[in-house]
Amino acid sequence: MSQLTNFTKGLLKENPVFVLLLGLCPTLGVTTTAFNGLGMGLATTFVLVMSNMVVSLVKSGIPDKVRIPAFIVIIASFVTVVELTMQAYLPSLFESLGLFIPLIVVNCVVLGRAEAFASKNNVGSSIIDGLGMGIGFSLALTLLGAIREFLGTGEVFGLQIFDSSYGMIVFILNPGAFIVLGYLILVVNRLNKA
């Protein structure tokens, strides 16, 4: 597999959210606006790339029996880095993402890639895999956030497109998250089949 397909598989063919259905809790929980979705996506991308890198570096030193706990410790360390950095420099984003930042630890995308890819491949392809998956994840979250923000308030990234009094508030609330994601999966399935 060339590095290019290794990178692009995360975008559509094996998109972690739409196709693999991993990491759905933050996907649904934080995407009330496109900006929140993007912030969460980038935070997860950082953790994905760094943990993939470290896991593939130390894979030969970890006994097979304790590899999952070892991976979790590596991931949790990087999540703590993200948590503290965001709290210091982006307090408003930190506020709105809330509980979902520590919960990156249990995001199945991160552990899934560490187990399924980084523990079997070299450092270079693991970083690229993490980057591709992370960008695919960010794309999915930003798209979902943009659609919900647009339908709910008439804005995209805070840019007013139609008057907010026409907004359908249900798309900002919880039911909207489920419904928009359902239809997005339908569209992506169709695209992947074509």
Partner: protein
């Protein structure tokens, strides 16, 4: 009275699955049949209560005392991961029948964000130990309620004539959305 409010809030108003989006993976993964949904609920309730008690004690007696609160994420996830292993070993020895029922779900629970979420929320909301335990039990009940309702809906959905492209996951999400809409009706109750 406060316990009553905690219970109603956690089960209905802030339902952990439909309102807080925690534990979505098992919500979709094991909701094809009511019986598996019930098994998963049992396993989650079991681990959630034990995990909340242990993480609470560690937070108060170690992390707070030594002022190393920034290690919370790492500590809690390690505690939960080892607890799940421990519960699995003990159940296998003590109650093979219960292990038969819950066994397959236990490994999945480590990465169930509802467990870690409830443990962290108990600390964030400044509950005492008893309130934390009540909160954990009520959250597990809320999880079970959502899961079993959804499993019931999906069992019926199998018999329906769903458009081809919507079959499977997409229709499940739309149905979950409608279920969440129903739960929105509880907001403002407390």
């Amino acid at each position: 009275m406060t316990y009553f409010v905690i219970i109603i809030t956690a089960v209905f108003v802030n339902n952990i699955v439909l309102m807080q989006f925690l534990g979505i993976c098992p919500f979709l993964g094991v909701s094809k049949k009511i019986s598996t949904a019930a098994g998963m609920t049992g396993a989650v309730a079991f681990v959630m209560v034990i995990a909340t008690i242990v993480t609470y004690l560690i937070q108060k007696s170690v992390l707070d005392v030594f002022e190393i609160g920034f290690l919370q994420t790492i500590t809690f996830i390690l505690i939960i991961a080892s607890l799940v292993q421990l519960v699995e070993i003990i159940l296998k020895k003590v109650s093979p029948a219960l292990f038969q029922a819950l066994g397959v779900f236990l490994p999945l629970i480590t990465t169930n964000c509802a467990i870690l979420g409830v443990a962290i929320m108990t600390i964030q909301k400044d509950y005492n130990l008893l309130e934390g335990v009540v909160f954990a039990i009520a959250s597990a009940v809320g999880f079970g309620l959502a899961l079993i309702l959804f499993a019931g809906l999906r069992e019926h959905l199998d018999l329906m004539n769903v458009p081809k492209g919507m079959k499977g996951v997409p229709i499940a999400f739309v149905v979950a959305g409608i279920l969440a809409m129903a739960f929105l009706g509880f907001s403002g109750l407390v």
